[in-house]
Symmetry: C2
Subunit: 705 residues, 2 copies
C-alpha cells in the first residue's frame, strides 16, 4: 500500500496524445504536477509525448517501475494489467469505468482483473476511479485537473465526483491536502486498506471519507478504531435510506447499504465523526484539521451583534452543548476590555463599537478561562466594521488550547483572505449553526478519545451446554428454536428462568403446576407457531388445578382450530413471573458488523414509538448503561408515573450476558428476549419469553454449491 502511494517511478499505460482523453490528461497531470521520479508513457504508437519518450511496451522500459496507471478502456485493461504484472510493478491504478457497476459483462471483466492482480501479487486501486494524489511527492496520478497544495487532510472516496468536489472546496479555502484516493469499485484496495495506510501516514492529520457501502464490517471497525485513536476520521456515509440504497446500487453495482442503525453503532464504536451532509463533511474535517477537540461541552460566544448571538445560543442548546458561565476573573477582564459594554454575558455582545484589538483581548481572556471549553466568534457585517482586521486579530491570538471557530455572516467580501485564515488555522463558517454543529462533532470525538478503557466482563457460563444444543439443531436443520430451548440456552448463560416443565396432558399439567406452585403461566410449545399469544396459545395467572386442566384442554382445542397444520409438542407450565417492567433485549447478526444488540421497553415503545437503542457486541458495562440511557423511555426505568424504580444494573448485566453469548456463538443469527421482566433494585430480571434462530452451518452451504 505505502509503495502504491509513494512510487519512485510511474508508468501510464495507454498514454495518449489527444487532449481530453484520459490517457493524455493523466500524463499531463503527472508532468504538470511536478512528480520528480521517472514518468513512463506507454503506447503502442511510440514516439514522444510532453517531452517524454513513449515506450511501445511497459516491458521495454529498462529500469524498475513501481506503479502503473492503466488508462485504456475496460476491455483492454486485462492485457495491460498482465503486462504490468510482467514488469513486476507494485501496484496498478485502473481508471476506466465499464466494470462491475455496468452489469454482468463488466462484472466478468472485473473478476478477471482481480484474478490477474491477485495472481501477480500486485495491489489494485479501482477500477472506475479518479486515481491517486500524493502532494508530498507532487504525485497527481489522476484525471483531476489540479494538484492540491500540501496539507493536513487526506480524502478517500467511493465516488470520484465527491473526491473532486472536496478537493475543489479545499482549494477554494486555500486548504491543503496530504492525499486524495479515489477507491472506485474497490476491487482490491478498500476503505480498510486506505484507513490503515492513512492512520500510519505522518502527513495526514485528519482522514476524510465518503462511502456508500462497507466491504468488511469487522475489519472496517477495527481499522477505523485504530485510525481514530491517532487522528480524527470524518465520514459521510450515504445510502442510508431505501431511496439512497437503491441509488447507490445503481451506480456502484453494490447492494451494500444496510440498515442505518448498524452503521450508526459501528461508527460510534470506531470513534468516527459521522457527517450527515456533504457540507458537514467539509465543515467537521476542516475544524479538526486546524484545532484541538474541546475538553468539555461549554461554549462561549463572542458576537458583534445580538441577533446572531441569539441564533448561536439556540443552536448550542439544541446541539446538547452548554452556553456556559464565564469565570468571575473573565467577567472582570471583559469589563476591563470593554468598558462601554452594558452587560457582560454569554453570548457576549461586544456591539459595533468593538475594535479588532477588543476581539483579540476577549479571545485571550476566554482562552485563559478553564470554565470555557470552546469559543465561537461571530462577525456580522456592520457599519464601520473591519472584518478582515478583526479576523486577523483573532487569528493572532489563537493558542490552540481549545477550539476557536469563527462564523462570518454575509457575502464573501466580509472576509479576509482565505489564504490568511487557512494559514492561521482559523476555521470559519457561513452560519452560527454550522459552526455549532462542528463544535458538537469535535466534542463527540473528544469524548470518544476520553472514553474509559474498554473492559468486557466475561461471566462464568455453561458454554458446553449451549454448544450441544446448537450443534444438534444445526445438524437437524431446525434452525428456529422456541421458548423452551431458548430458555435452556439463556439459563446456561446466567439468566434467571422460572421453574417450569413441558407437559403433554391435562393431568401432567396439573401435577407440574401443583409442584411449582400457583399461579402459573401456560404456553403452547410448537416449532411451527411463532406468535403464540396471537393464536390464544398463552394463558397467564392460572390459579388452581381445575383452571390448569381446563386451560390445557381449551388451548389445545383452540390452537388445533386456528392452526390445524401445526405440530404441537405440548404445553409448557411455568411459575408465573412477579410483576415488573417489561423490556425487550435482542441481538441480530449484521452481515457487515456482526452481532448487534438491541434494547427497548416492551411492546408499544419498540413497535410504535421506535424508541430503541443499538450497540455492537461485545459491550462493556459502561456501554450497556449508556445504551439503556440513550432511550427516551429510560426515565421509566428510574421510576416515574407510579412505576417503581427497576434494577438498571441488572439490566446492564443482561445486555452484557447476551453480548457474551452472541460473541461466543457466531452460529446464533438472531435472539429475542421479549419480554424480560425487570423488578426493583436487588431483584434479578426474569426471562418471560424468548426465541432464537441459528445460521445454516457452513458445510450445508458447501454441500449446496
Amino acid at each position: 500500500m505505502e509503495q502504491l502511494f509513494n512510487p519512485q517511478s510511474i508508468a501510464i499505460i495507454g498514454a495518449s496524445k489527444t487532449a481530453g482523453k484520459v490517457g493524455y490528461e493523466v500524463l499531463h497531470n503527472l508532468v504538470k504536477g511536478g512528480f520528480e521520479g521517472p514518468i513512463i508513457p506507454v503506447n503502442q504508437a511510440g514516439g514522444e509525448l510532453l517531452g517524454l519518450k513513449v515506450y511501445r511496451d511497459i516491458l521495454s522500459y529498462p529500469d524498475p517501475i513501481d506503479v502503473a496507471v492503466i488508462t485504456v478502456p475496460a476491455e483492454q485493461v486485462a492485457d495491460a494489467a498482465r503486462a504490468a504484472v510482467g514488469k513486476k510493478v507494485q501496484g496498478v491504478v485502473v481508471v476506466a469505468s465499464g466494470f462491475k457497476e455496468s452489469g454482468n459483462m463488466g462484472r466478468a471483466l472485473e473478476e478477471e482483473l482481480i484474478a490477474i492482480c491477485r495472481k501477480g501479487k500486485i495491489r489494485l486501486l479501482g477500477p472506475n476511479c479518479l486515481g491517486l494524489i500524493n502532494t508530498e511527492i507532487k504525485l497527481n496520478a489522476s484525471f483531476s485537473k489540479r494538484i492540491p497544495k500540501p496539507g493536513a487532510m487526506a480524502i478517500f472516496s467511493q465516488s470520484g465526483a465527491l473526491c473532486t468536489a472536496m478537493m475543489d472546496l479545499a482549494d477554494s479555502r486555500e486548504l491543503g491536502l496530504s492525499k486524495s484516493i479515489s477507491i472506485g469499485n474497490k476491487a482490491d484496495i478498500t476503505e480498510v486498506d486506505v484507513l490503515e495506510a492513512l492512520a500510519r501516514d505522518d502527513k495526514t492529520k485528519v482522514i476524510v471519507g465518503y462511502l456508500e457501502d462497507i466491504s468488511d464490517g469487522d475489519r472496517f471497525v477495527k481499522a477505523a478504531e485504530d485510525a481514530s485513536t491517532n487522528k480524527p476520521v470524518v465520514i459521510l456515509k450515504s445510502g442510508t435510506t431505501v431511496a439512497g440504497i437503491r441509488a447507490a446500487a445503481l451506480h456502484t453495482g453494490v447492494l451494500g447499504g444496510k440498515r442505518d442503525t448498524a452503521y450508526g453503532a459501528a461508527f460510534r464504536r470506531a470513534g468516527i465523526c459521522r457527517a450527515d451532509s456533504f457540507e458537514a463533511l467539509f465543515d467537521y474535517s476542516t475544524a479538526l484539521a486546524m484545532q484541538p477537540p474541546p475538553k468539555g461541552n461549554r461554549v462561549f460566544v463572542i458576537s458583534n451583534a445580538g441577533g446572531p448571538g441569539t441564533i448561536a445560543a439556540d443552536a448550542i442548546e439544541k446541539a446538547g452543548l452548554v452556553v456556559c458561565e464565564m469565570s468571575s476573573e473573565t467577567k472582570t477582564a471583559v469589563q476591563h476590555i470593554l468598558p462601554f459594554a452594558t452587560k457582560v454575558n454569554n453570548p457576549m455582545d461586544v456591539s459595533g463599537e468593538a475594535t479588532p484589538e477588543h476581539f483579540g483581548a476577549l479571545l485571550e481572556a476566554a482562552q485563559d478561562d478553564d470554565s470555557i471549553d470552546a469559543v465561537l466568534i461571530i462577525l456580522a457585517p456592520q457599519y464601520l466594521d473591519e472584518p478582515a482586521e478583526t479576523a486577523r486579530a483573532i487569528a493572532g491570538k489563537l493558542n490552540f488550547t481549545k477550539p476557536v471557530l469563527a462564523s462570518f455572516l454575509g457575502g464573501d467580501d466580509v472576509m479576509p483572505s482565505r489564504r490568511e485564515l487557512a494559514a492561521a488555522r482559523l476555521p470559519f463558517y457561513a452560519s452560527p449553526e454550522r459552526a455549532v454543529a462542528t463544535i458538537r462533532a469535535m466534542y463527540d470525538y473528544g469524548e470518544w478519545k476520553r472514553r474509559p478503557a474498554r473492559h468486557v466482563i466475561r461471566f462464568p457460563v455453561n458454554r458446553r451446554r449451549v454448544e450441544r444444543i446448537i450443534s444438534r439443531r444445526q445438524r437437524t436443520g431446525r434452525l428456529q428454536i422456541g421458548e423452551v430451548k431458548s430458555k435452556d440456552i439463556l439459563k446456561a448463560y446466567g439468566f434467571r428462568i422460572l421453574d417450569g416443565r413441558m407437559t403433554v396432558s391435562p393431568e401432567q399439567a396439573v401435577e407440574i403446576a401443583r409442584f411449582i406452585g400457583f399461579p402459573v403461566a401456560m404456553k403452547i410449545v410448537s416449532p411451527s407457531i411463532v406468535h403464540k399469544s396471537d393464536l390464544g396459545g398463552v394463558r397467564l395467572n392460572v390459579g388452581s388445578s381445575q383452571e390448569v386442566a381446563d386451560a390445557f384442554e381449551l388451548m389445545m382445542l383452540r390452537i388445533r382450530k386456528h392452526a390445524p397444520e401445526a405440530k404441537i409438542d405440548g404445553i409448557y407450565v411455568e411459575k408465573m413471573a412477579e410483576k415488573g417492567l417489561e423490556v425487550i433485549i435482542g441481538m441480530t447478526r449484521d452481515p457487515q458488523f456482526g452481532p448487534m444488540l438491541m434494547f427497548g421497553l416492551g411492546g408499544i415503545f419498540v413497535e410504535v414509538m421506535k424508541d430503541v437503542a443499538f450497540h455492537l457486541a461485545p459491550i462493556t458495562e459502561d456501554e450497556a448503561i449508556q445504551m439503556l440511557s440513550s432511550t427516551r423511555s429510560y426515565e421509566l426505568l428510574k421510576g416515574k408515573r407510579g412505576l417503581k424504580k427497576v434494577d438498571v444494573g441488572a439490566l446492564a448485566v443482561a445486555l452484557q450476558r447476551i453480548s457474551q453469548l452472541a460473541t461466543d456463538f457466531p452460529q446464533i443469527a438472531e435472539l429475542d428476549i421479549n419480554p424480560l421482566i425487570v423488578g426493583e433494585p436487588g431483584t434479578e430480571p426474569v426471562v418471560a419469553d424468548a426465541r432464537m434462530s441459528f445460521v445454516k452451518p457452513e458445510k450445508d452451504l458447501r454441500a449446496g454449491s
Copy 2:
C-alpha cells in the same frame, strides 16, 4: 406606513460632516443611493454637506417633508422627534441605540419617544435600528453601506446585523431586493405593520423576516396568513431555547421568547415557511423568489455523478419527499436523449459524457412529465465538464411550471456567473441536502396554499350555563376549579359525563352508589388538592355498598393525615367508566397566540415520550384529524398491539368542542381533560377527570393598580 416607505422628501436630523458618524453615513447613503426627491440635512451648525444646504432646524425648510431620519444620540432624540412632529412629517426613523435594550433609563427615553409620536400622530420606525431601504425609489435611508439592486425579496429584521448579512448574501448572489426594513426595538412599527405593508407591495414577491419575539400574536397570525395567501413569507425565529431566550432578552430588552410549540402552531396556521437556520432563511427565500412551489412531493434528480445522486436520494427520503418514478414517455425520451446511458432511473446518472445540451433536453422531458413535481439538477466537478455551459443550458430551458433547483458541488469556480444564474431565476445550492430541504419548504408552502377552506364547526352548546359558573368563580376569586365543576362546564359543551354525585357521608355515598349502579369510582373533592390520586384520593372499581362505605371512611382518614390543612368538600361518587384508551386533551392560553390545544396519549406518552401535538384554536375538523395523526402514537388509536381501534372521529369532535369552549370563553386560562377515555368506533368518549383555571377578571387588575 406606505408613506414611510415611499417618501417624496426626506430629512436627516443630526446630519454630520464627520465621516464614520451615523449622521454622515446615512446622508451619504441617501445621496449616493440616488434618491430623487429633496434630501434635507438638518444640523444646528448649518452650512453645506455633500453639496446640499444644511438647515439649522427642520422647521426652517420651506416645503413639506414626508420622513425624518433621526441620527442624533438617544438623549437628543425626543427633541428631534418633537421638531419632526412640528414639521408635520408622516414618520420618523430613529437609528440610535440606548433605548429599551439598554436598561431602565433607556426604557424611559423610549416611552417618551413613543408618547411624542403617538400624540403627534406620526409613525415611528425603530429606535435601535439600521433604517430603511426601498430600491424602487432608490431610497437608502440606512447606515448600510450599499443599496441593493431592485428585486423580488423584501427583508425585515429585528436585528440590524441580520438585515445586513442577508443584504450582503443577496448581493453576492446578484439578487435584488425590493425593501429592507430594520424594525429594531419595534416601539411603534412592528412585524405586523411590515407584513401588512409588504403583502400589499407589488414589488415584493417574497417576504423574508428575522424575529426574536412577536409583539401581538393574534394580529401577527392574521397579518402573516393574509400575506402568505399572496406571497411566500419565510421567517427565522430565534430565541426558541432557554439559552436563546436569555440571549434575546439581553440584547433587545424583551422577554418575548415563548415556548417554541406556540410559535410552531402559529407559523403553521399562518402558512409561514419557517427557516430553522440562517442559511435556510436565505435558501428558502431565494427559491421562492425565483420559482413556483411544487404541486406535489415527487422529486426527480438529474446528476452527472452517482455519489451526489445517492446523497440527494437519501435527503429526499429523509425530508418526507419522494424519489419518484418517471413516466414511460419520459423514460423513452431519456433513452433517446442519452443513448449511452446504461440505466434510466431516478436519480438519473447522466455520467461525465453528458453535454450541456443533454442536460437541457433532459430538463425539458422532466418538465413535461406530470408524474414529476420538482427537479433537482446536480453538477459535481468532473474532468471535461463545462459547468458554466451546463448551467446556461439548464437556465435556457426553464419554463417555471415546476420548481427546478440546482446544486453545484465544489468550489466557486465550478459555477457560471452568479449574475447570469440570478437573471435566469435558477436557484443554486452548495449541497444536495440544502436544495432538498428547500424543495421541502416550497412543498409545504404549496400544501398550505392548497389547503381546504377552513370551516370551523359550531356545535349547539349551553353557553349560558358556562357563563354563570365562570362569572361566579371570577367574582369570588376562586380561579381554579376541580373535577366536579369542570365536568359541569364540559357537559354544557356536549361532553359525555358519567352519572355522579357529591357525597358528604358514607351513608350518602352508599345511597348514591346504589342509585347509579356498581362499580363506582370515588374521588376526593377539595379545592386545595390538585393531584388527588397522589394522596390516595381516588378509588376505582368500588364494587359493593360495604366497600363504598369503607372506602369513604378510609379516604377521609388518609387525606386528613396526608393533607391536614386541606378543606374537603366531600367525595364524588361516579359510575365507573368503561375501559378504553386514555388520552389527554388540553388547552393553554398562550399570551401571544391565544388558546392553544394540546393532544397526547395518556400518561407516559405525554410525560416521558413528549409525544404531544399542539394547534391553535379555533380548529377545523381536518385540522383536528391532522393534529391527532401528527403524533407518533396515532398508530395506537387505529388499533395495534392488542388494543382496539378507537373512534378517532369522536376524538376529533372532542378537540373541536374544546376549541369552541376556549374561543367562546377567553376567561378560561387552562383546561385539562386527563384522561378522556375513548372507546371503539360508535361510542362516545368519557371525561374521566378534568381541571380548569380562569384568568383574573380585568376589574381586579384595575382595582389593584
